[in-house]
């Protein structure tokens, strides 16, 4: 089957029901997207499908309907996405395991809701767990990213 990931077309020979997360990691070698739970409870596997955040552990390969963007395709080292920039400046990551999912969730959230309230930030991010408890820094970085995007 054909998938478009980070702007490139890929042909993969996988079962229809293989989760997109497995396709990305095992077939395409894109290891930035993480596995945490496999049941939509942690957010570590978040990628974008046509810009909307989606839990790649929940999406069967045959149900992919749109362009996929992973953390590897969100920005480049030379030109970071505003959310990545805010993440570096705020030094959000502790162990980092949850962070690609956090960043992908935030990028899609701020795209849909550029001026979120604090309650909306909490609601948007409560499905992304961080076992290191970096939540205060995550929240701070979201506010900073929203500011950067508004100024851009």
């Amino acid at each position: 089957m054909k998938l478009r990931v980070n702007g490139k077309d890929h042909h993969v020979d996988v079962e229809d029901d293989m989760p997109l997360l497995w396709v990305l990691r095992d077939e395409l070698g894109l290891m930035g997207t993480k596995y945490g739970c496999g049941i939509a409870q942690c957010g570590a596997c978040t990628v974008h499908m046509d810009g909307i955040a989606v839990r790649s552990c929940q999406l069967a390969a045959a149900d992919v309907d749109g362009d996929i963007t992973t953390i590897e395709g969100l920005g480049t080292p030379e030109s970071l996405h505003a959310v990545q920039e805010a993440w570096v400046e705020t030094q959000v990551a502790q162990c980092g395991y949850c962070q690609s999912g956090q960043i992908m969730q935030v990028a899609s959230f701020l795209d849909m809701n550029p001026e979120p309230t604090d309650d909306q930030i909490d609601a948007a991010m409560s499905g992304n767990l961080c076992r290191c408890g970096a939540y205060p820094r995550i929240r701070a970085a979201i506010r900073s990213a929203a500011g950067k995007m508004a100024a851009a």
Binding site: A123, A124, S126
Partner: protein, 203 residues
């Protein structure tokens, strides 16, 4: 007798699931249903409407879906602080479909995973508010054009025949308990109740 065969929205997209989603809309003849039979049909409709597979999302003014039912212990709001917002699809925060992904291939059998259908997951409109409500309250609501989106009983039955999120209630996957009866029996009950004049027990 009028018979309409409605192949659910799924028919074109998912041939595997199409067979079980075909609903026949065949109301009893005008004047053939007495009050007692109509009220008995209503009681079965209420059993369905108040079952967690249906009522958990019919939360009215609240934008928080509920988690209740045999596998949940005490009823409580959807975990992870989920808010469907004014959009009812979570557009303001996290879209329902981030986890309840659109599924055209017939999976949806993962215990504890997010339920999936071949449509965008969402909450029903605010007016269709019946979580925790009584049989009389829901009965009055369902026959009130102001609160049922101006639908006749035939249109309500047709709506049930088409909406694949509603069909999920009878095929919820994982270890979730299905709504009672079957989709076809529920549609039949709605038609019996309708032909009886949509009676409520308090009439």
């Amino acid at each position: 007798m009028r018979i309409l065969l409605i192949a659910g929205l799924l028919a074109a997209a998912a041939p595997l699931m199409a067979a079980e989603d075909q609903v026949v809309i065949s109301p009893p003849a005008e004047g053939s249903v007495n009050l007692e039979t109509g009220l008995a049909a209503w009681d079965r409709i209420y059993e369905v409407a108040s079952h967690p597979r249906c009522s958990n999302c019919h939360v009215g003014d609240s934008d928080q879906p509920m988690w209740s039912g045999p596998s949940y212990g005490a009823p409580r709001p959807h975990g992870m602080n989920i808010r469907a917002g004014d959009s009812r699809i979570g557009a303001e925060t996290i879209p329902c479909r981030t986890c309840h992904v659109t599924n055209e291939t017939g999976g949806n059998d993962m215990p504890h995973g997010a339920p999936q259908v071949a449509d965008a997951w969402q909450l029903p409109p605010v007016e269709a508010d019946w979580f925790g409500r009584t049989s009389d309250e829901i009965c009055a609501q369902l026959r009130d054009p102001e609160r049922n989106d101006g639908r006749t009983f035939m249109e309500l039955a047709d709506h049930l025949g088409h909406d694949v999120i509603l069909h999920w209630a009878w095929n919820p996957g994982g270890t979730r308990e299905a709504a009672p009866y079957s989709l076809q029996e529920h549609v039949d009950d709605l038609l019996i109740w309708g032909v009886a004049g949509m009676p409520c027990h308090f009439d």
